[in-house]
């Protein structure tokens, strides 16, 4: 029994290490940002002026840029990701399934820096052409105001959307797989069309699918290199898709090594701390939803709902 305990203690120590790492990140980031937290308090997040030279640190533009770009990316990526998940799980012939999974997952494997490089030299010029071609009438809308630079919110949202599609679609696919086959069979037996049967399966899996979408959102929030390279890095709050803006991750990447005084550094680390906390919450919520879905989908755990198919 002693030997058993020794084994458990040794490998248990490494398990504790993994848990400890998450805690340590939170503690270390708080410790390294206290100057800024103590100095500015909540005002740090409400002030929209970021002028390190003058010692003014307001992080609102970064919060805005991060949420806006991630939100737009989510809007673009979610329908596509769910379409892919449904196509692979329900519609495509068996021989095509393997290759499709491989290629969509390849999209997740391409390094962020490669997305960024492609973004600078291929996507941004294309976006600029698109912006130039935009009719004058539409250009008057706040959504499309500003000069056609190419770099800006639109390019960032597009590249983010491509990057999160594989994450959302692979989790959504797993979730759809846990829906009991009887669900779809029952719908078909009642005379449902393909769309109606799949809709009932999606409805059944809705909790897990929301989880999958949130997982993609979490990815988008923290994405750094590709966004940094195409968003234009200008700390302003603008509704315009054409305007160069800035995100939390991008400002850290760009200015960290240039932070000349301690307050500047602590302000950047505070942005990192909040980014850490936001992604922590979004990811935990997403895992919780996916996990809850896994529980309800267990066969015979609850009666199959047919209402959605009718």
């Amino acid at each position: 029994m002693r030997r058993e305990l020794g084994f458990r203690l040794v490998i248990g120590a490494f398990a504790v290490l993994v848990v400890g790492l998450v805690v340590a990140i939170g503690v270390e980031l708080s410790r390294q940002s206290w100057l800024s937290i103590a100095r500015f308090g909540l005002a740090f997040w409400l002030d929209r002026t970021w002028d390190p030279v003058a010692g003014e640190f307001g992080a609102l533009p970064f919060i805005w840029g991060t949420l806006y770009s991630s939100g737009l990316a989510l809007l673009l990526a979610t329908p596509v990701a769910l379409g892919i998940a449904v196509f692979i799980s329900d519609l495509c012939p068996a021989w095509l399934r393997g290759p499709l999974v491989f290629f969509t997952e390849l999209l997740a494997a391409i390094p962020s820096i490669v997305y960024g490089l492609w973004g600078i030299f291929v996507l941004v010029p294309a976006v600029r052409q698109f912006e130039i071609a935009m009719p004058e009438l539409l250009r008057r809308l706040p959504l499309f105001s500003g000069p056609p630079l190419g770099v800006g919110m639109l390019a960032a949202a597009l590249i983010l959307a491509v990057m999160i599609v594989p994450f959302t679609s692979s989790v959504a696919r797993e979730v759809l797989k846990t829906v009991p086959m009887a669900q779809r069979e029952a719908a078909y037996a009642l005379g449902a069309t393909r769309f109606e049967a799949i809709r009932s399966a999606i409805f059944f899996a809705r909790t897990g699918i929301v989880g999958a979408v949130m997982l993609g959102f979490g990815r988008a929030l923290g994405e750094t290199m590709a966004v940094t390279m195409v968003i234009g890095n200008n700390p302003q709050i603008s509704p315009s898709l054409f305007a160069p803006q800035y995100t939390m991750a991008a400002v850290i990447a760009n200015e960290f090594t240039e932070a000349t005084d301690d307050l500047y550094l602590h302000a950047l680390i505070e942005i990192g701390l909040v980014l850490f906390l936001i992604t922590l919450i979004v990811n935990s919520a997403s895992r919780l939803l996916i996990w809850a879905m896994g529980r309800t989908a267990r066969p015979a755990a609850r009666r199959v709902e047919l209402g959605a198919a009718a």
């Binding site: 962020s112 820096i113 750094t224 680390i269 850490f276």
Partner: protein, 281 residues
């Protein structure tokens, strides 16, 4: 009948939309590969792999220092992360259901979702700031932290795939738990565990953000772990945003090397996974 036609039409529309989604995702993939391969191949030559960067403004030169740097950084990361990841993975599968196993699984998933730039700040705080020095060690640490959760989770999953009869057989023969794990269960799951490690390696080899302020960059050849060191990704970043045509050309070449590496790892992993699934089925 009218209603029926409408439903059929809607269904067809839905199927078409799903098919279109696949195309919408594959088009950017195709475009990225097209440009990376197209522009990269033109820039790729022997000098790129064997020469050091030329002074600013002089064309030519290569990225030898960056390749060596990435090799050292990923090596350091693997050295730290593979033992930690595999052992915590063993804990999660051996003691599944215990509170620590659940907490570890949650922590690993959380760590996996932490933005890499945040991991970089953490490594900066504990490995750069105290010594007032960017170093290869700090960069390796940041990458290692990113590797741990991936390896831990794949190890756990692979161990759970091993048939229970194998464990029971070992225990019935009087093996201790440690002996059963290390001589029977882990060897049976080894191909899967190695695959996990390869995928983790592929992921961190392409990371840039956590290196920006840990290993930093170095124009010169260096293998000193206490000094800043170059890496392919940071070098590609520096070159991509530079005003020099020749540097941009080299950035594409670097990107091609990165993508080829990732692609090779993915294909390898897929082949091994397919074999594992056939093996246990």
């Amino acid at each position: 009948m009218m209603l029926d036609a409408r439903r059929r039409f809607l269904s067809a529309l839905f199927v078409a939309a799903c098919g279109l989604s696949v195309v919408l995702a594959l088009v950017p993939l195709g475009l990225i590969l097209f440009f990376v391969i197209g522009s990269g191949v033109q820039a790729l030559n022997l000098e790129f792999f064997t020469a050091l960067p030329k002074p600013v403004g002089e064309p030519g030169g290569g990225m030898l220092n960056a390749f060596v740097g990435t090799l050292i950084l990923t090596g350091l990361a693997s050295l730290m992360a593979i033992p930690a990841g595999v052992l915590s993975g063993i804990y999660m599968s051996e003691y599944a259901g215990t509170r620590l196993a659940t907490a570890t699984r949650f922590a690993a998933d959380t760590l996996n979702g932490v933005p890499s730039i945040v991991i970089g700040i953490f490594a900066y705080g504990i490995a750069v700031l105290p010594f007032r020095q960017f170093s290869a060690l700090a960069g390796g640490l940041a990458l290692g932290i990113m590797m741990v959760p991936i390896i831990a989770r794949t190890t756990e999953e692979m161990l759970l795939l091993v048939p229970a009869a194998m464990r029971e057989g070992a225990l019935a023969l009087g093996a201790t738990r440690a002996r059963a794990v290390f001589t029977v269960i882990v060897p049976a799951a080894l191909p899967g565990i190695v695959t996990g490690a390869v995928l983790a390696l592929a992921r961190i080899a392409g990371e840039t953000a956590p290196l920006l302020f840990t290993s930093f960059n170095n124009r010169f050849f260096s293998t000193d772990l206490r000094q800043p060191i170059s890496s392919v990704t940071v070098q590609v970043f520096t070159y991509a945003i530079s005003p020099y045509e020749d540097w941009r050309r080299q950035a594409w070449a670097g990107a091609l090397v990165l993508v080829s590496f990732v692609l090779a790892c993915s294909v390898l992993a897929r082949l091994v996974t397919a074999r594992i699934q056939r093996g246990w089925a």
